[in-house]
Symmetry: C2
Subunit: 454 residues, 2 copies
């Protein structure tokens, strides 16, 4: 593997320039204004793979955003890896909080700042670079590889879902590898062996047809903003326990052995990393255990009435809330969504009406056995490159494709992430540490090599 | 008075063109981008008064928006009327809901549509027209008049407050007349003999320094939007009773005789006029009684997190709420604001911090004896021009200047309004009925004439 490491070292500046080019294109999947940039980004990935040595590369168009597929199957009976990643990114808003432009990558203090540098373009690129390094030095890959880089992960991977089900054979593999997660603390390699599922919806309470003069109608007309407050307050108590009837019924409890395994991982000092004045958690669980292994209900946005400068004395016409739930093994996202809808409909105050828009995409939680050989090899690869024993954690986030791969193929999904808590995913000033960018490429190299050797 | 009526009739088209010119200038007081238009509007009023026959007219500059002052004191021992009005208007948002441009006045179905046509420029103009009519026909006014038209009513009249206190003698009068209110139903002349006071504030709950990934931090970090929901839900119950400790302590109860007087007024069918599915009210009070004579707490705006297209799975960094209270006789706005602040500070959930911005301006409620001679003359003037017996009501809205005039001069404030429930004050598609525009000018003429005769 040394010659691969040497190649990566020699080409480090070029690789940095290449990933910056990748990051410059604003591949914002949730906003239809960026369709052209989405395509441009897919083309970047396609060209990079072709120029690396893949002859079988194609852009698969969908009714949404395109997916990039490539394969190289000449490694005999070595395992077949399905390499999954996504080239789309979260919206950058609020723009005024970015110190540098979200789509003009900048290195500061050893970190690469750009929307997508950590989630997920920076990490996707690390795999592209390693694959190129193998082709350029050995003329071949140690393992069979199917590359699947999609453009809708941030909005639920709707069309990937269709493709995986319609073209099942195309993506068949022995394991999947995904780099879209991170270290539990800045320098602690972490095997992510579980993810949360999710479901969500948006709902609007409507009172009067238009905003009303709050003096003339206050007291006679239900205020939709206050109705929303009352309704939301019934969904979760102040001890972070979700109050939706049936919400916890199917939750598989957290075993003591797993608590001990998780406890080996250093826990994030949440108040220090986030700036919040305090933490919270469900009784009987630490904040970390809650983020890893307990289901949640979170408001992502709520808005009603006047938000501009100064005062406007109105009763707003409507109030809207966007919320999502993160689920744990055992919970069925469709059942949970139904429970949410039932709860909302049962708690609409007198004087307002409700319309609900269910989030069409959802995912079950995912969990793989920490002692699986493919998992153990990943652990070793981390340890041999980062020189530190890896820890095992389950994450609060969701990656829908992991659940689908689990359901369709019943294969281990190796979550080989290199992010850090300081990366600020989904927030302004997202960044990725260059040290992980470079060392992580060695980890990936090491892992592909280990997979090829029995 | 017939010759005044004749003058008004002969010049009706011109008067309509003049008020449209007045309405065209976007005199939005709450938004500092419109300062030039504010001045232009003050100049319109000044010029109109000068061209009518007032020689003593001046624009009084303030640190905020200018105030127009004029006087004519040659009516001997006839009463001195302080005519108050405001030339500023509410912001027009949401713009997409207007059928015609908010600042391009349009007559449709007998109504004049424009922001400010009812509140308050249309009604201010009616007085300007009547004063002009007297000057042009009789060469004099029947009463002494001090005109005070300000530009900050929609944002609390801060600088008028200063002027009234510093130049007390300038505004001394026997009564004040204000046309900035309306008929309780479309064709029912209404004497408004009471107004509510108000106070308010804006507060923000802050959790983390930035928006967070809801998967990675959900369960460990208090969600400011949910914290806001819990906090707001403690402020008012679902029966419209404000839950702020001490809120009702000083409220002067509603006497039975007053309930009977109010009950003579036809009540608005709120669900029909607003489109809300149902009404609400405090136990023991009808919706109408609640809007007239019980204090309220209303959320004018609440916002947190993502509001754009699609999904964004974050825990928002902050949640903000703008709220105002309408007060009744007995309540002290400063005490109420303190109670609000204390309540908020006592109910901030663990894991978020709060910053509170008190609304600096406030007003006590106002109430005049319905049997005062100046009030009884107004009742007669309505009846002689609209050919219908006037009713007595107290309004849910506030006009701060009324409370200040009451406190400084202890004079009756005659609320001689001509608006209707369909006017949609503070909302898109504000309008004013032309029939009231023209007939109301006769009412004003009649009233000034009656005041002059003992």
């Amino acid at each position: 593997m040394e010659h691969i490491y040497t190649y990566l070292e020699k080409n480090k500046e070029q690789l940095l320039e290449d990933v910056k080019e990748f990051l410059r294109i604003p591949s914002i999947s949730t906003d239809s204004n960026y369709k052209k940039d989405i395509r441009k980004t897919a083309e970047f990935v396609t060209n990079y793979l072709k120029e690396s040595g893949f002859s079988d590369v194609k852009i698969k168009d969908t009714e949404g955003h395109p997916l990039v597929y490539a394969e190289w199957m000449e490694a005999g009976d070595a395992p077949t890896v399905l390499l999954y990643g996504h080239y789309d990114v979260q919206p950058p808003e609020p723009l005024e909080e970015w110190k540098s432009e979200p789509f003009e990558p900048e290195v500061r203090d050893g970190r690469l700042y750009a929307r997508g540098s950590s989630d997920d373009k920076g990490q996707v690129f690390m795999h592209l670079a390693v694959l190129r390094a193998f082709f350029k030095t050995e003329g071949k890959l140690p393992i069979n590889v199917k590359v699947c880089i999609e453009g809708e992960e941030e909005i639920g991977s709707e069309h990937l879902y269709d493709i995986l089900h319609k073209e099942k054979d195309l993506f068949e593999a022995d394991l999947a590898v995904i780099s879209d997660s991170g270290f539990v603390t800045n320098d602690q390699p972490t095997i992510l062996y579980g993810l949360k599922g999710f479901t969500g919806l948006e709902f609007t309470l409507k009172g009067p047809d238009s905003d009303l003069h709050s003096g003339m109608y206050g007291g006679a007309i239900r205020n939709p903003a206050m109705a929303m407050a009352h309704l939301l307050a019934t969904m979760k108590d102040e001890e972070e326990v979700v109050q939706i009837k049936g919400f916890y019924d199917d939750v598989i409890p957290l075993e003591e052995t797993e608590r001990e395994l998780m406890a080996k991982a250093p826990s994030e000092d949440f108040t220090k990393t986030t700036g919040a004045p305090d933490t919270v958690s469900e009784k009987g669980y630490t904040p970390v255990e809650h983020t890893m292994a307990r289901p949640t209900l979170e408001i992502n946005g709520v808005y009603s009435g006047y938000q501009g400068e100064g005062t406007k004395t109105i009763i707003p016409s409507t109030a809207t809330c966007k919320l999502t739930c993160r689920l744990v093994p055992g919970q069925d996202p469709e059942i949970i969504q139904d429970l949410l809808v039932q709860h909302i409909e049962a708690h609409v105050p007198k004087g307002v009406s409700v319309t609900i828009k269910r989030e069409p995409l959802s995912a079950k939680a995912y969990r793989v056995d920490p002692s699986h050989p493919f998992i153990m090899k990943a652990k070793e690869s981390y340890e041999e490159t980062f020189n530190k024993e890896a820890v095992f954690v389950r994450m609060g986030g969701s990656i829908p494709v992991v659940e689908w791969l689990d359901a369709i193929y019943d294969i281990p999904v190796v979550l080989l992430g290199f992010g850090t808590p300081d990366d600020r995913l989904h927030s302004p000033n997202e960044s990725f540490p260059l040290e992980h960018f470079y060392t992580g490429m060695k980890t990936i190299t090491n892992y592909y090599h280990k997979l090829a050797n029995k």
